[in-house]
Every structure is written in C-alpha cells, then in structure tokens.
Amino acid sequence: MIKIKNLHANIEGKEILRGLNLEVKAGEVHAIMGPNGAGKSTLASILAGREEYEITDGSIDFDGKDLMELSTEDRAREGLFLAFQYPVEIPGVSNVNFLRTALNEIREYKGQEPISAKDFMTMVREKSAIVELDSKLASRAVNEGFSGGEKKRNEIFQMAMLEPKLAILDETDSGLDIDALRIVANGVNKLKSPNNATIVITHYQRLLDYIVPDFVHVLYNGQIVKTGSKELALELEEKGYDWIKDELAV
C-alpha cells in the first residue's frame, strides 16, 4: 500500500525526519508512537501534502505511484485520508455540501459519474450512524461549534464517506473522553477491510485497546527506531520512552 524509504524532511531548515522507513500493506493496522517532537505529526502532514515541509531525500510509493508527485487533492483522490489532529472549523460551508463536492471530484478523477442526490443522502445516513454522529451535525457548517469529540467523530464520518485505501489518524484520541474514544475506535474498526490500511499516530496506548494494531513502531528523533507487536505499546505505556533512548545510546 505505502512504502516510505529513507525519508528526510526539513521545516524552515530544521531537520525533522532523518531517514524514516515504513511499509504498510493492505489489511494492516500500524501504530506509530513516540515522544513529543519525534516527528509523528510531521510524517502525517507530509503524507497529506503540506507544502511547508521540504523533502530532502527518500521516496514514498503509494500503491505504485510516487506520492511526492501528487497534489494534496490527488492524494485524497488516490485514496489517502488524513484524520486531522486539529480539524479546521469552516463557517458557512456545510459538511454534507462539501462532502458531496469532494466525493464527486474523487469520482470524476476516477472517471465515474457523480453520485445521485438520493444515493448521497442514503450514504450520509448510513455513514453518520457508524460514528453515531447526529445527522443534524452532518449538515451543519464544517466543525463550527463542534465539541472536541464531535470534531473527531466528524473526521471518521468523512473517512467513512470517502472510503480511503489508506487512513492516517493523527492523534485522533487526543482530547477524547472514554465514550467518544470508543465510538471513534468502533467507527475505524467497522471501516477496516482486507483492502485498506490504517496508520494510527498516537501518544497513548489506550486507543490501541480499541484499535488493535498489527505492528507498533516507535518514532524517535526522526526515525523508526523500534518495531514490535501490540505488546510493545503496553510496554511503552508502562515504562515510557526512556528505555528506548537508553537502548539506542548503547
């Protein structure tokens, strides 16, 4: 699905990623953990196409395509989805309106006909149920006046609507209470299939109780320094990151 090789990236001359390698295959769930400032969100931003980062070395292959050659919108149209850590509030733009535009532009890119209004509304009803998002919220302005939990549920609702191949959840658990966390995680699990993949970026192990990863990676100092099974997350929760830093120092 995605192959990241030796990725180096700067922002304003400061090197954040220093040779990151990661391969995610269809049907897999990968968790990326790591201390603050390790480069987790940078990785998510680069994958989504934020232009303020400069890629100095390395490559990213997304399902046979050079990701770096694609614009942000074309990445989305190819099936890459980023659930934002801080979803943007957009006053005046209704959630469903913008999703219909998004969906139709994706369909047009793939050479498909626009979705009918009826099918679209059916889809909105079905998909908003997955994250227990009130259908009234679905038609309100994008994230405007939403609580933290509603914003994150809205991200997963959008993911459900767009049916991406690869979803990257950037700190989707931050600021969620336990109920919201469960709803969001359930939503992600329901969307899981052998044909898609998920990268979960998180600080904390607790999300991984609900979204069970096949692999856990530790990102530190701009590189993946350790990879393990879901037990690694528990170990990190218990011991923190210092032992990994010590291991590296040896």
Binding site: S71, V88, I90, G92, V93, A102, L103, I106
Partner: protein, 413 residues
C-alpha cells in the same frame, strides 16, 4: 473641501457641453442651486472626503460622443412575471401600466418629493441633466402581487442621467428589482438617482443588481426617507462593472422603523466598486442593520464607507454595521471605513470591518478531502458571501444570482 475654479475650460464644462438641460419640473430653486454648484467647480478630487479613495480622473478625461449602438443583446430578466420597465440608453422603451406609474416628466413639481442633498456633485449633475425616470406610487394599503422590475440598459458612449421617484403609501407593500446591464462594448456614463419615500407602516424591498459588462462609469444613489413603522431593505449586488459608485442615504424620520442594507460585491480585473452609505437616525426607537461583503480578484479595488448618525434625542437606537472583504490576489485593494456618529446616550450601536485572505488551513483541509484548490477556494468564498445572500428573500433574485455567479465565476453554490 471644494475648489473654486474658473467656470470655463474645466473638465466639467467639457463634460456638460452638449448636454440638454432637464425638462423635469424640479423646483426653480433646486435647479438653480444645482447649476450654480456645477458652474463654480470641477470634478471632485481625492482631496474631498467622499472621493478620497475613488479617482475620477479617468472620467474627467473621457469624452463622450453621445453615440449609441443599435446592436441588440439579450437582456437578462430576473423575474418571470413582473411589472416590467426598460430604459435603453436613458429612453423608456418598455412601459407597464399594471402599476400606478408614469414618466417623471409628467409629474408636477410638488409631487417630486425631492430629498435634496446640497453640495452633492452627482446629485447636482443628475438634477441639471436628468432625461427621464419613473414616478411610481403604491397607494395606501396596496400590496403588490408581483415585483416591479426596472431594467437599465446601456449600450454606447452616451451620458445618461435618470431620476426615479418611488412612493410607498401607508401600510403598502412592494418589491422593486432594479437591474443595470450593458453590452460588452458599452462605454458610457450612467447616473441614476432614486428618491424613495416610505410612509407610515410602508414596506419596501429594493434589489439592485449590477452586472454591467462594458467599461461604463456607473453612479447610482438611493435617497430614502422612512416614516414611522416602515421597513426598508436594500440588497445591492454588484457582480460586474468597470467603475461603480453606489451612494445610499437613508433618513429615518419616524419611530419604530427598520432599515436593512445588504451588499455583496465581486470585483475583478481592474474594476472598482465603491459603496458609500449613510443611515441617519433622526428619531428614537429604530433599528438598522448593514452588512456588506466583498470578494476581490485581480487588480481590483473596493471602497466601503458606511456612516451611521444617531441624532440627539434619537434614543434606543439599535444600529449594526459590518463590512468584510476577502482579497484573492496580492494586487487587489480595499479601503474600508465604517463610521458611527452618535449624539444620543441610550443606544446600542456597533460597527466593524475585516479584510483578509482566505484561511489557508481551511483550503488545505478541503483539498485533503479531494477538492481541487479552485473548488476549495470557491466554496470558502461563496460561504463568505452567503451571509449576505442568505438575507435575500426573493427566490428569483437568488436564482439569478446563483446562475450569474455560476456563468461568470464558475461558482457552484
């Protein structure tokens, strides 16, 4: 400040030469005053406060041949069924007797109901040279079933001054759509003044749609006087026009009156749109709301100057005023000046002005969901303008707006 210039050999004297004095029966004093003003001065310069950001140099240097084109072009009508009037290059070419209307030339002096604005340059030009106009009277308690649609067509290199008078009687209700269109090759001068009076409990909505596609100079002014319990709404939608100056003067003369001024403007290329509004609260217990929003492309310029006066003893006034602008280009500019002058002490007034670019984070967010940069920006810009459009109640005006924006700007809203 007004400059004293020698009466001959000014740009203004050239502009006036060849223009026929008006045959409308304005009072002698009014006409004298107007002519005297024009005798002793030239075109306004940026040294005058109300022309500070809008240069008239190009107008002053333009010679108008007076020619009009006989090429026809399709007039876009807003309403399927309306009391329709058409002025073509100043001539009344379509008349409708479904309402109490006649040419302003057939109106006696004491019915002209003039709201005189002293020392107002284009008012003076209009008084001195107005060719024609409509006098429309909505009788007391009459509720018009259909809107009145007045189309102003410009198609040539001519100077045209028109003067309308609208009177809405006690508890009468009407809606007037005034459209301004021109052919692509039109490059004339149009100056339309509408004198509008709302009597007790009268209700009037004016939709002003400006889509002139030529390089005309457009000046228009609505001078409004409201009596008690009246409700006046003006929706000014400026979607095209080389040079557009709109003046609105509302005198709120009766208690419990409501005034709504909504404006949306999209300015592109080298176009200029200037909205100058004055709401003058002369008495207590009234409400006024003003919202103007604009989007600027290319090297365009927008000017907004909104003034609200609350006179002494005009207590319990609620006056809100807001102007917002989005600049979609580094070369576009906005001069926005909201002003409040309050001489009463028990009032609730607010004003504000914002000018900025689109939120880049929002653009990125939408693109990350698969929208092209163009669609993302369009969606954000239309959301910005929709605050104003949402206040428009007439479906046909909204439909016209949507289809025009779709055709000319590629918007899908």
């Amino acid at each position: 400040m007004q400059e004293i210039v020698s009466p001959t050999n000014t740009k203004l004297s050239q502009f006036r030469s060849g223009l026929k004095p008006t045959s409308i029966l304005f009072s002698k004093e009014t006409l004298e005053e107007a002519n005297q003003l024009l005798e002793k001065r030239d075109f306004p310069t940026t040294r005058e406060e109300s022309w500070k950001y809008t240069r008239l140099t190009k107008l002053a240097n333009t010679t108008f041949s007076g020619s009009v084109s006989s090429n026809n072009f399709d007039i876009p009508f807003v309403h399927a069924d309306s009391y329709r009037f058409i002025f073509t290059n100043g001539q009344l070419t379509e008349f409708n007797d479904g309402v109490n209307a006649r040419s302003v030339k057939d109106v006696r002096e004491n019915n002209l109901n003039n709201i005189s604005l002293k020392n107002h340059f284009f008012e003076a030009i209009n008084l001195a040279f107005a060719e024609d106009g409509l006098f429309i009277e909505i009788e007391a308690n009459q509720k018009l079933e259909k809107p009145i649609e007045i189309v102003h067509v410009s198609n040539g290199n001519k100077i045209t001054n028109l003067r309308h008078v609208f009177r809405v009687g006690r508890h009468a209700k009407a809606e007037i759509t005034m459209t301004y269109v021109s052919s692509d090759e039109s490059n004339g001068f149009l100056n339309v003044v509408s004198n509008i009076a709302l009597e007790d409990g009268a209700y009037l909505t004016i939709n002003k749609l400006q889509t002139e596609s030529g390089t005309d100079f457009h000046f228009s002014r609505e001078a409004v006087k409201q009596e008690k319990n009246s409700n006046f709404t003006l929706n000014t939608l400026t979607f095209n026009g080389n040079f557009v100056r709109n003046d609105v003067n509302v005198f709120v003369n009766g208690q419990n009156a409501e005034t709504n001024l909504n404006g949306a403007y999209l300015v592109k290329n080298n176009q200029l749109v200037d909205n100058h509004t004055i709401v003058d609260h002369l008495v207590a217990n009234c409400q006024s709301n003003e919202l103007y929003k604009g989007v600027l492309y290319g090297k365009s310029t927008a000017v907004f100057n909104g003034k609200v006066f609350v006179r002494p003893d005009a207590q319990k006034i609620n006056a809100f005023q807001s102007n917002g602008n989005v600049l979609l280009s580094d070369d576009a500019s906005v001069n926005s000046k909201p002003e409040l002058e309050i001489y009463a002490d028990d009032v609730k007034c607010s004003h504000g002005s914002t000018t900025g670019q689109l939120d880049e984070n929002a653009v990125f967010y939408l693109r990350a969901r698969g929208l092209s940069e163009k669609s993302a920006k369009e969606l954000l810009v239309s959301a910005f303008i929709s605050d104003v459009l949402n206040k428009i109640e007439n479906e046909e005006v909204l439909n016209f707006t949507h289809s025009y924006l779709n055709k000319e700007f590629g918007w899908n809203i």
